[in-house]
Amino acid sequence: MKTAAPAAPASVPPQFDTPAQHDAAATLGLWVFLATELMFFGPLFFGYSYGRSHFPEAFAVASRHTDVVLGSINTAVLLTSSFTMALAVGMRKAKARRAAMWLLWATAALGVVFLCIKGTEYLHDWQQHLVPGTGFALEGGDSAGAQLFFFLYFATTALHAVHLTLGISATGIFALALQRGAAQFANGERIELVALYWHFVDVIWIFLYPILYLVGRSGG
């Protein structure tokens, strides 16, 4: 059985029949990508579980050397950025392009603030000789276990920062596009994809924050 090809709008790539099919593919593609990303972080989380079960005291001691004030402020900053991002998607879909643009800029700016605070934290860690492989020194507890904790701390937060940087770039590109009136490019579906990615980076942090800053501080 054969039927004639349905005529697709010019904006849809040739392999798709309809804009809806294009959107469905892009959205699913991003979800699959996020699944890959999650598994990419997997060995680091697995390494953390291993270290915490093998060196509970060292992890507790090391965890108390993280900067819980800056870490908590950063968590608030990032959660707020997800809020502005979600609002931006809603505004763009409601055709409030100007509001969407400002909200995207706010999201990107909050991301930059997060990176600046994180950088300050790294500087403090460096001054306190908490960077593994560069004369690591930490009073009390098992040195190897503490070093493992700080290796995981730097590996996970740096990888998170790399992802956040990509998210900031993407958000900035779409904010700029809206500012220049490229509404076709910066449509609601695409901005929603950027938002999905942004929220994913946020969710990673929501797991990193308690395991790095909070759990080790609980108890005696």
Binding site: Q21, V32, T36, P43, G47, F149, A155
Partner: protein
């Protein structure tokens, strides 16, 4: 590989525009193509090149092992040879072989789509693959690597003085090519199916590649991060595998096998998909138990994620953990057996034509069964202590990867060759090569089961003289195998220019890919197909099929 029209061509056939000619025949038109069929051929050519490079390393290994003394290469060179053989064959040939070459070509056509969902990503995946391959070959030229394809720590992080980083980077990069292909396939199967193409009307080849894609997407990033951690530890002395830094070398084995055991199913599931297309076609029968076949594919993919610990029975893991891993490994046998029984039941009372693709497919079923059953022997805790790191293990996984995956890959290449090239391959040569490979393979690897059971360890370039007879048999088999693998390279290349023109459907097969001309036009179908029946609607009474 453009196919110019000449002597054997009918006048009508020569003028039909197709993907080989429509987009131009310049090198640039190939290297910038977004057409999944052309990208599939780019993959086909590159994986073939890597197959023969990896094969050359295997040839030297078998030559060295012809005598008990280490008289051809030094032990260092030998270590580098088996490492390069493993790295190239696993990551640059087997993993991409069926999905990226055949799957890329066929998946969109089988579901009635014009292309994959993300054609540019598809081309990018090939370039990423080539970039990773270049790093790996660079390591080979720079002097090689001696860690084995498994990169076990602490040897790879602290003791090896070879080009470990180069190969790690190469494998890391190639991994992203796998991920992108898997992502593309998953999205394509979900969103690009033709009207009427429900999930249980998909050919099993599509099911197999879909399940494989899920493994690619979920397991490969774990390997990527693990290799990154090995590189960080090697370069900067920080990490999670060195006990002095608070880590554990065993952690590497857990993470590595979390990817590398499912990787076995990345190799063998698509092979099962190929076999499930070939057998019904040449038995002229509907595949037996279609739904069970689909569920078995998914079952193997899921179980495959939960058995990695069976590579570590002698690594000092907990006895109870080992018992669970052993049990789960046994469970993989259930969906595998369902598949073997269903293929057999498909053949039962079929009108069978022993064409070259079917010979390869039957070879797959037999060799996969032997490889699978010996896998159960290895999954048994007590026996594994005796057999770990012996040639029994080497023989077991070569039965799955070479006897299974490579046989099916070659069967698939022959089966779809008329579709890909528009030409028939010489059938009698095809049968000769299939039989040579089958006998050569068994002569190479069956003695290795006996060697391993007798206690010969793997990865040594010398051995006690009492093992020599079996080793000579194995090396003799390898030379037959080499001829078997070189033959298709010759006659398939010949057929590109001189082969008989194939019609749209030379096998009278039922898949959508056969309902369009050979070679297909760029957009695959002149009219988007609408599907109204399930797959494999073969009629037994018309079983007078003669290939060619």
């Amino acid at each position: 590989m453009p196919a110019p029209a000449n002597s054997t061509a009918g006048p009508a056939a020569a003028t039909v525009p197709n993907y080989l000619t429509e987009q131009g025949t310049t090198l640039k038109s190939w290297l910038t193509t977004h057409d999944h069929k052309r990208i599939a051929l780019l993959y086909l050519v590159s994986i073939t090149a890597f197959f023969f490079i990896g094969g050359a390393a295997a040839t030297l290994i078998r030559l060295e092992l012809a005598t008990p003394a280490g008289d051809l290469v030094t032990h260092d060179t030998y270590n580098k040879l088996f490492t390069m053989h493993g790295v190239i064959m696993v990551w640059l040939f087997l993993i991409p072989s069926i999905p990226s070459a055949l799957g890329n070509f066929l998946m969109p056509m089988m579901i009635g789509a014009r292309d994959l969902a993300f054609p540019r990503l598809n081309l990018a995946s090939w370039y990423i693959y080539v970039a990773g391959g270049i790093f790996t070959i660079a390591a080979l030229i720079a002097g090689g690597v001696d860690t084995g394809w498994t990169f076990y720590t602490p040897f790879s992080t602290m003791f090896s003085n070879t080009h470990v980083i180069l190969v790690l980077v190469g494998v890391f990069i190639v991994g992203f090519s796998s991920i992108l292909t898997g992502l593309n396939f998953i999205v394509t199967v979900h969103t690009m199916r033709a009207p009427g193409m429900g999930w249980f009307r998909l050919p099993l080849f599509v099911w197999a590649n879909y399940a494989t894609s899920i493994i690619l997407v979920l397991a490969t990033p774990v390997l990527a991060m693990t290799l990154l951690l090995v590189a960080a530890e090697r370069l900067f002395g920080v990490g999670i595998f060195d006990p002095a830094l608070g880590g554990d070398p065993l952690l590497f084995q857990h993470l590595f096998w979390f990817y590398s055991h499912p990787a076995v199913y990345i190799m063998v599931l698509p092979a099962m998909g190929v076999v499930s297309e070939i057998i019904p076609c040449f038995a002229r029968k509907r595949v037996f138990g279609y739904r069970f076949m689909a569920y078995a594919i998914l079952g193997i993919a899921v179980f495959g994620f939960m058995v990695w610990g069976h590579h570590m029975f002698v690594s000092g893991s907990s006895v109870y953990g080992n018992m669970v891993f052993s049990l789960l490994s046994f469970l993989v046998a259930i969906p595998s057996a369902i598949k073997v029984f269903n293929w057999t039941a498909t053949l039962y009372k079929g009108s069978i034509t022993f064409s070259a693709p079917l010979l390869y497919a039957l070879g797959f079923v037999g060799l996969f069964t032997i490889g699978g059953l010996t896998g159960l022997i290895l999954a048994s805790l007590a026996i594994d202590v005796h057999l770990t790191d012996t040639y029994f293990v080497v023989a077991h996984f070569h039965y799955i990867m070479v006897g299974g995956a490579v046989m099916a890959y070659l069967g698939g290449v022959h089966f779809w060759w008329p579709k890909i090239s528009g030409r028939m391959y010489p059938e009698s040569w095809g049968r000769v090569a299939a039989l040579l490979i089958f006998f050569g393979f068994n002569l190479t690897f069956f003695p290795q089961y006996l060697l391993g059971y007798g206690g010969m360890p793997r990865r040594y370039h010398t051995y006690p003289p009492e093992f020599q007879l079996l080793n000579i048999l194995s090396s003799a088999g390898a030379s037959i195998l080499a001829v078997g693998y070189l033959l298709p390279l010759g006659y398939l290349g010949w057929s590109l220019f001189y082969g008989k023109r194939a019609g749209a459907n030379p096998w009278r097969a039922t898949g959508l890919e056969w309902q369009t001309p050979s070679p297909p036009p760029t957009e695959n179908f002149a009219h988007p197909p609408v599907v109204s029946t399930g797959p494999y609607g073969y009629e037994p009474q018309t079983g007078t099929e003669q290939p060619q």
